[in-house]
Structure formats: structure tokens, C-alpha cells
Chain length 210, copies 2
Amino acid sequence: MPRKTKANSDLSTEEKIKEAARKVFTQKGYAATRTRDIAEAAGINLALLNYYFRSKQKLFEIVMSEKIQKYFGVLAPVLNDASTSLETKVETIASKYIDLIIENPELPLFVLSEVRNNPEHFIKLIEKIDFLNQSVFLQQIAQKRPDIHPFHFLISLLGLCLFPFLMKPALLRIANLKEKAFTDMMLERKKLIPVWMKAMLKTKSVLPVI
Amino acid sequence: MPRKTKANSDLSTEEKIKEAARKVFTQKGYAATRTRDIAEAAGINLALLNYYFRSKQKLFEIVMSEKIQKYFGVLAPVLNDASTSLETKVETIASKYIDLIIENPELPLFVLSEVRNNPEHFIKLIEKIDFLNQSVFLQQIAQKRPDIHPFHFLISLLGLCLFPFLMKPALLRIANLKEKAFTDMMLERKKLIPVWMKAMLKTKSVLPVI
DNA sequence: TCAATTATTAATCATTTGATTAAAATATTT
DNA sequence: AAATATTTTAATCAAATGATTAATAATTGA
């Protein structure tokens, strides 16, 4: 067993493994990742992986937890801030989210894939974001557009931010973009999305009243 | 070798395997799928899989090709129709796409994951949609909004259609939706998205002129 | 310093898994 | 029906892979 009791000066091995795991898992997904890949990427002996983290699964869960926290942690405080306007929230979310994902471009697809493959791992994490239902953000939307389910707008906002990163490989090829040009476009979207969302919230009602 | 020369009355075995492969591959992704899973789902002996399709990889490529064709095949004719307005195109795409995905809800994530894991498999297929660059659709957008890269709008449109399906598992849980309610929301989006896109295309310019 | 603890390594295990083989069953042709 | 071709099955192989073990090295605490 690895010791955890003592303040060990050199955390590097354990951290190296986690770092490598983050990288390989996010790149290839759980099933396609071999523990040997992680060991190699970390520059450590394969057995050390099991020494520090019992199993591939355990290591994955740790890395995953952190990722999800990062993924949704950005949202929570913004969405529940009663002191800011809806418009401000949209601006903040678009800006923070796009920045976050520019630095973790593989995160969205990774999370979505793994939620699909192992939904049970995410029950706890999803419970953490149950606050969303009662969030100030959704209330503000509902107030402005009582005719449309507020989740329509939340999904749209997230989709406008995230989807380009999901399409990135295809996009680079089809639109003939370089990495830099793609990033620039995503930075542009930080300005575009709030404007778009504002316009979307203003549109006339088209859904039948029930 | 399976014979292919003769008009065999009973295609069922080969087709059963493909059907099962479609299902299991799209549900779990390539790496997490075991040929035994497919065989079991198809109710056939494992060896038959290799008898009809040499290898897991070959079977996957066949199934994949068909899926992608379906995925992008809907777009092509619509995007290149010079006789319809931009608005009409947006309506048609939103409507057709959402219908398509309601019937293949796992398709988007499957395609995106596999493009990530094996981009080389998709080079040919991506070449097929190179027409997009010169498509009437993009030209119409560029004409209406010369200040914004037309791909911004294409991505947004696709994102608004597809992203809810990617988020579906989380959404059902968080928004407390049932399957039916989710589908209804997606049908609503067929009306909402064209209205939204129209509003987005009308917004005032916010990007700096270069 | 030296015993005890912790970390690391190489070798190996056991299971999973894609694929093959040889024999049996079924269908087709003559 | 006999011969031939095709399909299906059970058994098995070989490689990959997650995990363990036993020995060694390094570190720590007395």
C-alpha cells in the first residue's frame, strides 16, 4: 500500500501517474486506454499504477471526479448569483466556459462519452448539480420567456459554447482552419454568443399555448 | 469464405450481424465493444462474425460507413439547393436533422467519439463533404453576414440541433424529464431553431473589422 | 547507523478477447 | 441420391492486458 499518512516531500510519482492518466484517458476514453499507456506516458513502472491506485477503474474514477468538478464547477456560482442580470450571466458563462475548454479541448467529448459508457459513475456527480433546477439563472429565463421551457435556453447556450469543440476535428478539415484560426473563432464566439442569446430570448413566441 | 456470387435467399445471418453490430457499436463505442457482444446480440456463433466479415475492424468500417452516410447525407442536397432561401434551408435542416436523430439518438456521440479515436477512418468520408465549402448555404450566409465567418452559423445550427441529444442523459436527470417529454422538447426545437437562427443572423455586428 | 518502512522493478499470472480451425450440419447442384 | 458447396458449431490459439508477487532499492525514523 502506498502510504498516505505522511507528508511525503516527493508527490511526483503519484502525481505523474494522475497527470498521465488525465491525458491518456481524455484522449482515448476509458476502454481504449491501456494501463501500460498510462505507465509509459508517466515514465513509471506499470506496477506502480496499481501500487498507488489499486486498479485502472479506481484511477479513472479519481481523474474523472476532478474533471467533472472542473467541468461543472465553473457553472454553479455564476448560475446562482442573484445579484447579476441574465445578460451578465450569459456573458460570464460563455466567456469562462470557452476559456476553460480552450485549455481542455478534449474534455467535452471525454465527459459525454464516459457518461454514456458508465452512467452509474456519474449519479453522484449529477446529484451535485441538482441545484440547477432551482437556480437563479433558470428563474430569470422563465421570467423573461414563460412560454418556453427554460432548459431550451440553457441547452442552447451550452451547445453554442461546447459544440464547436466537439466538431473541431471535422471543422479543421472542412473549413480548412489551422489551430490558431480555430481558437480565434472560439474567442470570437465569446462575444457572439451573448448577442445571439439576447436575440433568441427576444424572439416572438412560436410554440402553441397548452 | 462467405459466398457472395450467388443470390442467396437468406441474408438474415449477415444482416443480423450487421444489425447487432450497429446497435452494440453505437451504444458502447468501438473499443468497449467485444465481438462476443455482437455475436450474442445477433444470436449467432462468434465464428460467424469472422466468417462473414473477416474482422471486428472490417465489420466496424462497414457499419460506420453507412452511419456516416446517413449522418451527412441529409445535409448535402439541402445545403446545395440554389432554389431555396436561407431561411427555408435552416428550417429544413433543423427539421430533418432532429427527426433523423430522434430515430438514432446515439448516433451523434458515436460518430464524434469514433472520429476522435480513429480520425484516419474518416478521411475519405470527410472528403465527401468537402463540397460544404462551396455550398450555396454558406454563400447565402456570407452574403447576409459578411462580417462573420459563415461557419459560425453552420456550427451554431448543428449545435442547436445536436447538442441536446449529446446531453440527453444528464438532461433527463437534471431537468427531471421523461423520455416522452424530452422528445417533445426536441420537436419543439424544430420550430424554435429557425426562429432563433433568423434572429441570430439579424444581430448587429460585434466583431472588430480587420 | 541500522532496522523498519516505503517505493520501485522485473517477472509472471490469469483473464479477456479477436481470430482460427476442423468437424458437423445444411443447402445446392448434377 | 450422390457429390459438392456453403453455413454453422465447438474447441482452441495467441496476443493483449489488468493485476499480482517477490525481490531489490531507496528513504525514513530511532
